[in-house]
Every structure is written in structure tokens, then in C-alpha cells.
Symmetry: C2
Subunit: 349 residues, 2 copies
Amino acid sequence: MPSKRRRVTQREIAELAGVSQTTVSVVLNDRDGSNVRVPEATRARVKQAIEQLTYVADPAARRLAGLDNQIIGIFTYEAALSPESMDFYGPLLNGIERAAERIGWDLLFFTSSPVENGTRSLFHRKTRLRLTDGCVLLGQQMVASELERLVAEQFPFVAIGRRDETAAAVPYVAIDYVTPTTALIDQAAAGGHRQALYVHRGRNTPTARDRQGVVEAASAEGRLAFLLVGEERIAELPRLARATEATLIITEDAFLAEDVVHALLGAGVAVPDEMSVAALGEVSGHRIDGRAMAGFHVPRQQLAAEALDLLQLLITTDPQEWAGLETRRLLVAEVEPGDTIVTRTDVPS
Amino acid sequence: MPSKRRRVTQREIAELAGVSQTTVSVVLNDRDGSNVRVPEATRARVKQAIEQLTYVADPAARRLAGLDNQIIGIFTYEAALSPESMDFYGPLLNGIERAAERIGWDLLFFTSSPVENGTRSLFHRKTRLRLTDGCVLLGQQMVASELERLVAEQFPFVAIGRRDETAAAVPYVAIDYVTPTTALIDQAAAGGHRQALYVHRGRNTPTARDRQGVVEAASAEGRLAFLLVGEERIAELPRLARATEATLIITEDAFLAEDVVHALLGAGVAVPDEMSVAALGEVSGHRIDGRAMAGFHVPRQQLAAEALDLLQLLITTDPQEWAGLETRRLLVAEVEPGDTIVTRTDVPS
DNA sequence: TGTCGGTGAAGATACGCATTATCAAGAAGG
DNA sequence: CCTTCTTGATAATGCGTATCTTCACCGACA
């Protein structure tokens, strides 16, 4: 351990200015009332001493004294800054950074959180969580017990992504996939499509259930008939399409759609002329033979901004009052019509 | 301001276990010597109380008591997480994250640092710099006065990128461009090239000077004759090439090389058959008509790892001893031969 | 002249933790 | 039986800041 690195303290300033530490604190915080009073002359003298010694407050001491820190924590289940995760985290982190910059917050990334009992854990003996005024949680695999503990401890935090499964009321900001999925399906139906396939990954996440629910509802209500297919059966798609006379394949996300298109082209099916394709996820950067893929635009930066906004609300509100707050916010993904859904006039209704 | 959020303290554990706060602290830190002794029985009782109340240490209090925090600061001059800066910062941040994860450090991004007097400043009244054990500085535009202040305060920090211009000895980790530039030029000369153009951006940074210095030296020593051209004269390149009978154009970076190639192709010059091209910078992802561009691979992730390694060394070493340390490290960029430098047998030597 | 209210500032304390010094009780030794 | 260690633990203190309480002083007023 290195020797102590000493810094300028309020006490030293006090000595230089010939006043007490209390007075320095008062001047620094521009406090002035009936309780404490510092005349302009003294104030100026103290300020001069502050300048002279280039004082900077010790955040740890401020924190210990019960003040806020202007730091918020970022906890990600996976590595946040790796190239692989940048597709997903990148826009979110960018949005968070910009919002933090605007409000004047620093960001503490919990990159140290060790793996305990097989999962990454926010609560360990030396967690720096308490250094922050609040925390943003990112990632698919959050641990329910940790969320509940955060709620129980009345620690201000916001999850990004739906967290309905947890018993406790977890504040979150997430994407509404129901609205745009419904819109997309209705548009396809209006375009003459009657039979379709839905290719999914078989995940049991809230958003996956949401999307699938809309698909099933559309099927049940006769707006557009779907056959649901797991991703492991991509190779069979051409056959299934022929059997059902489907003219449209919708997939859970854009990557899946690319795989599907690959399989179709391999089987000699023209896309989108013979078979239209759409994805129920972000389609930026995904193109099919030069055409913009039909799907959604997910406002991730806005999502992040919304999360910090909600977090700020929680931080500045007394936990007693949290019950009355709207702590779950949904942002509607925007439909990208794209060029991969063609109008069909050849299908019998 | 929200009401006080109370946490479990050592005192509460002490009460539950029927011991003093001191004993709890001793147990938590596994301290045991001639000064303080706690028998196994008591120790177990305390540990049980700790488990029961799910104690987590308050980092601010630890810090105030003079311990290290396992937090390092990341200061970037520009926005670190924006899509535009990801090309440059991405690999660095990824490397930092991985190294931090390995050592058990959290990362504090100073996203709040406000703009003062036109520049972003690390030292402001409420800087959270003190919360960290050390700091990594990234970006082109560092403010010399701040670097000097960090040095003067004996604060452990490492800059990424050469910082020779500053008077004080700034610890840094940077890329050695001299070695690979020399190698690249020698290889080109060995390939029969005699006349070349060097296209630069006219910047006066250390690395720009380094590269240009090697180019000029090679020219002076007759290994390969260069004509230096500013980027604003790209349009004239075909003419200049003809006038000098150059068979090779080297640019300061890969983006510049792409512009150059564009200009050449526009003038009907075949690349690389008539004119070879290379860049003195990272060429990953840059292709010329399907060919890998000749240039360098810059080990940015390794650079980051090296930076954290050096930082750790500084943190764990008494500032008194810093003078004896090697606080400037260079990593040699690797030459990427690529396919854009062809062998010339038609040039008179 | 004694009292009262206002002014300017210092003293004391809390925050949670680590550490140093101290102390009581029992064991060992003469 | 008195002294000297050893053991087991506690009280006290410091870290830097903010805040609550106290206090001395001075002019005004009765």
C-alpha cells in the first residue's frame, strides 16, 4: 500500500483564511440563512483561499455526510464493451452517456462484480453500489432475488427491458412490441397475405411471449393465419411454405430473418417476389439483396434517456411516495415498412 | 432530497452478536495478530450475524478511512460511447473492461465533466476523481495543465497515446509507429519501388511527426525517395505521380488511403497494378477492390491491458519510488503486408 | 445600567469504517 | 502470594464534510 497522498482540505483553507472549517463549508455551499451568516468580506477572503489552494471536495466525505454523489451505477450481466455486445448495448450506452452528460452524472460500471455461485452478482461484500445515487440494470439474465433485494432496500434503480415476472414491482423501461407487431400484421393482411409462417427462437422471455401472443391472436381472429415454427426447423421452411401456401414469413428478429432468406434462396424461392419476409425486431443494417428489410426500428437511445429520466425521478422522490409513481414505461417501436413485403393479388381470400 | 435510506452497519451487527464494532471490523477483514485477537467461537458468532443481516460495506466510509476503493477513473476528452468514436475507443474500452474485470476493478466514467473555459475539465469543484485509486486518460486533446497537476499531486494515472510535449513526466502507453513504418518502407524498396508519395494530414501530433520523420529519413538516405503531399492536394495526385514517376503512395491513415484510391481510379490509374498503396495506420476493415490494404494492425486491446497494468503498478508503488519506474511503454504496431503493394521490376534503380 | 435582539462565527457532532492504544481477567512463573 | 505474560476484547480516535447548537459581542432600548 502506497503512502498516504494528502490533499487540500477545508481545514487547511480555514487556517489560511483565519476562519473555522464550518465557515469554509458554508461558503462553499453558498449557505446563508438565519442560522449561519457570513458577511461578504469574510466570504471573499475564504473564496480567495479556496482559489489559492485549488480545493476540490472529497466525494467520499460528502457521501458519508449524507449527500448525493451525482454518480449512477451501470450493471450489465454480460461484458458491456465487447465488440459482440456492441450491437445491442452500443446504442443504449450511447444514450445513457448523453443523458448523463446532460444532467451532470458520472457513470460507474460494475465491471468488477465477481461470479458467485455461477452467476454474476451485484451484491457482494465489497460492492460499490452504495457509492451511487441509483443504478441502471441491463441484460437479459437478471437475477430475480437481486431485483427483489433492491426493491426491498428501497434503492433507486431502473431495469432496461421488461421485468414483469418478478413478484416485487421492478421499475423498468422497455419496448412495446405489441403495437407495432399488430400494425405489421394488419398491413400484411391488407396487402393480400392470408397464410404466413412465424419463425421463433423458442425463448420464454416477456417480449418473446408478447410477439408470439399477437401472432396467435391474429391467427385466431382470422386476420392472418400463422403456422408457428421453431428456429431449428429452418431447413424445412420451403416445404412448410408450400404445404400451407404461405406467402409471408415473419421472424422473431432480423438475424433469424437472414437465415430464413438464405434457406429460401437455397431452395430456389424468390424473395420477396414469391415469399415476403419481415422481422419483429430492429432491422437497421439488415438488407435483403439491397432491399430494406421490413420490421421495426427500436428507439434504443430514447430508451436509455427515458431510463435515466425515470431514475432521476426515483432518486429525487422520497421512497415513501414511490407507490404513487408510474414506474413502468413502454416505448413503442416504430414500424419500418421496408421493401420485403410485396402486395399479393393472387391469393384467394 | 429523499429521506434517509438506512443500511446495515457494523454497529448493528455488533449489537446482534453481542460484541463491539471493532470486533466486527476485525472479523470482516480477517485481521488477527498480536494486537487484536478474536477466538474462533466469537468469530463464528459474528460471521453468522453478518450473514443474517446481509451486511455490505459502505465504500465511502472505507475510502474515508484511507483504504483503496478498487475503482479506476476513465476520462475521455470526447464522448466515449458514441457511434462515431467507437472505431477508435471501442477496442480500447473493450481491453480496459476485460483487464478491469480480471483485476476486480470498477470503472468510473467521468461523463459529467463540464465544459469550462471552452475545454472539458477533469478538475472541477465536485470532481469525483478522488473516489478512484487511479485514472486512465484517453483522447487527442488533453490539456497540458491538467496532466501537470496530476503529476504534481502524485495522483496515479496513465495516458493512452504519446505525451512527450508536456514538461512533466507523464506516464503513458502508446504505439510505436517508427519500427513498422521503417519496415514497411524497406519492404517496398525491396519490392523495387524507388519513387513514392507520402500523403499526410498536416497534423503536428507526436505520432504524425514520428511517421513523417521516418519517411523523410528514408528519403534522405536514398532508400526510397518521397514527395510529401498535404491531404488538400489529393486531386493533384495523379499528376504528381506522373511527374515524379512514383509507383507507390503511402498515406497517414487508411481513410486517407481510401480517398486517394478514389482519386486515382477516377483518373484512370489502376490500383495496385499501376500504383501501389499503403497506409501507416490500422487497416482492418479497409479493402481496396476486395484486396486487403497494406498497412498496420494496431494492438489496441493490448494497449489497454498494458495501460491498466502500468496503472496498477503506479497505484501499488509509493510515489516516492515512481522516479525509478519505467512509466512510458511503447507497443509496436504489426505490419499488415496486404495485397496493395505490388513488386515492380520495371523501375530503373 | 441592565436587558434584549441581532450578527458573526466557532464548537460539537454525525456519518461508517479501520486502527491504535488500552484494559481486565486469567495463566504461568518465582 | 506477588509479578509477569498472554489472551480477548473494548474505548478512543481519525478520515473530511455538513449541520445543528451554542456563544460572544455589540448596539439599541427601557
